[in-house]
């Protein structure tokens, strides 16, 4: 199983997903991120899914869960770089990813998080 690396940049955790998401990888990411948030006390998480071409209902729900977990550590999650086709699929599935903020790209995601602090 491939692991998704979590990078700490200042007070922000940056996760760039570059692999085809499997269910196990997402669960592992969720665990790793929770550990990392507890240790670093970061105030924001950016999840970059520019390279992700397929998001199914399970992964969609896990992204929401990651958002909820982060909020427990008082960190805000911003999902960046979603592809139009992925957005259309998620909408058709009825997933609006409530509780997770979205931004067009990593730069705008950073602006949102920095504007907050």
């Amino acid at each position: 199983m491939e692991r998704v690396p979590i990078l700490k940049i200042g007070q922000i955790l940056f996760v760039s997903i570059q692999i085809d998401l499997q269910d196990e990888s997402v669960i592992r990411l969720q665990e790793d991120l929770a550990d990392e948030l507890a240790v670093t006390r970061a105030h924001g998480v950016i999840i970059d899914i520019t390279a992700v071409e397929i998001v199914d209902s399970f992964i969609g729900r896990m992204l929401t869960t990651i958002g909820s977990i982060s909020r427990l550590f008082d960190a805000e999650t911003v999902l960046v770089g979603m592809r139009p086709a992925v957005a259309i699929t998620l909408t058709e599935l009825g997933l609006s990813l409530s509780g997770v903020r979205t931004a067009l790209n990593a730069e705008k995601g950073l602006e949102i998080l920095n504007g907050k602090s």
Binding site: V78, R83, P84, A87, I88, T102, A103, L104
Partner: protein, 273 residues
């Protein structure tokens, strides 16, 4: 009755009376088209058809039947494109019967032969109608495809603000196209605000509202905020009486209001010079 014999006798008769029949046939057709096609052109088309009909009737030529249908289909398609009615198109073929009948009416021995020609002409007449309607359907399909392309522009209103003026009825196919174009433009321009203007949408029912909501939530997933503008009084009344909820999506009366909102959210202010 010997079908082959009657066909061959008819073919011989048509060959012998070529000039008379084609002349009369052309006259009848020209009267029907009322100047939309020149006499020479009609004559040329009918000469071709006539020659093929004779070849089919004489039975010697196996390719003739295929050629005849192809020629007839082509002729009917052209008539459909030139705006002739189906009756005018079919009468062009049926009037051959009249032209021939005028010649055979006096001689009783040719009547059974005429009957076989008549049957063939009936088939050809029906054939023109089929080709005619197929051509018409093709035209309609082309037009709706062209309209779909034309009717969904996405324009840039401001740096970071794009506008989608919707004109015409919103169905699933169009919503899909609008959604794709809107999302693609959001990504390529890096805009974070979109204004969907529905001034040109004649009616907003639950289905249209559902399509709009889907488009907005897809745009939100990309991190862009949408405003719906151009809600006319009647549309507002319909929306309320149908109980449609737009939730936390901002709606504005005019595109100008929506643009002002987008600018304010972007932290910009328009002041007089």
């Amino acid at each position: 009755m010997d079908v082959v014999g009657t066909n061959e006798r008819m073919a011989a008769f048509l060959r012998d009376n070529h000039d008379k029949v084609v002349g009369r046939w052309t006259e009848l057709v020209v009267a029907g088209v009322r100047g939309r096609t020149s006499r020479e052109e009609v004559r040329r088309e009918l000469e071709d058809l006539y020659a093929l009909i004779v070849r089919v009737l004489s039975g010697a030529d196996e390719d003739a039947a295929g050629e005849l249908t192809a020629t007839l289909d082509e002729l009917s398609r052209n008539r459909a494109r030139d705006g002739f009615s189906p009756i005018e198109t079919a009468v062009g073929v049926f009037s051959l019967k009249e032209a021939v009948y005028e010649l055979v009416a006096d001689s009783a021995e040719l009547v059974p032969d005429f009957y076989s020609l008549s049957r063939m002409v009936d088939d050809l007449g029906l054939r023109t109608f089929e080709a005619y309607s197929a051509a018409r359907e093709q035209i309609i399909a082309d037009q709706s495809a062209a309209m779909l392309e034309l009717s969904t522009p996405v324009v840039q209103l401001w740096d970071g603000v794009i506008g989608v003026p919707l004109v015409g009825t919103l169905d699933s196919a169009r919503t899909q196209l609008v959604m794709e174009k809107l999302l693609d433009t959001l990504v390529t321009t890096g805009a974070d605000h979109a204004v969907i203007d529905i001034t040109g949408v004649p009616t907003v029912d639950t289905e249209v509202a559902q399509h709009l909501l889907k488009t907005v939530s897809a745009a939100r997933l990309l991190g862009a905020e949408c405003t719906i503008s151009g809600i006319r009084p009647q549309v507002a009344q319909t929306i309320v009486s149908l109980g449609i909820e737009f939730g936390d999506i901002a709606t504005k009366a005019s595109l100008a209001d929506a643009l002002a909102l987008a600018l304010r959210q972007a932290g910009l202010k328009v002041v007089p010079l």
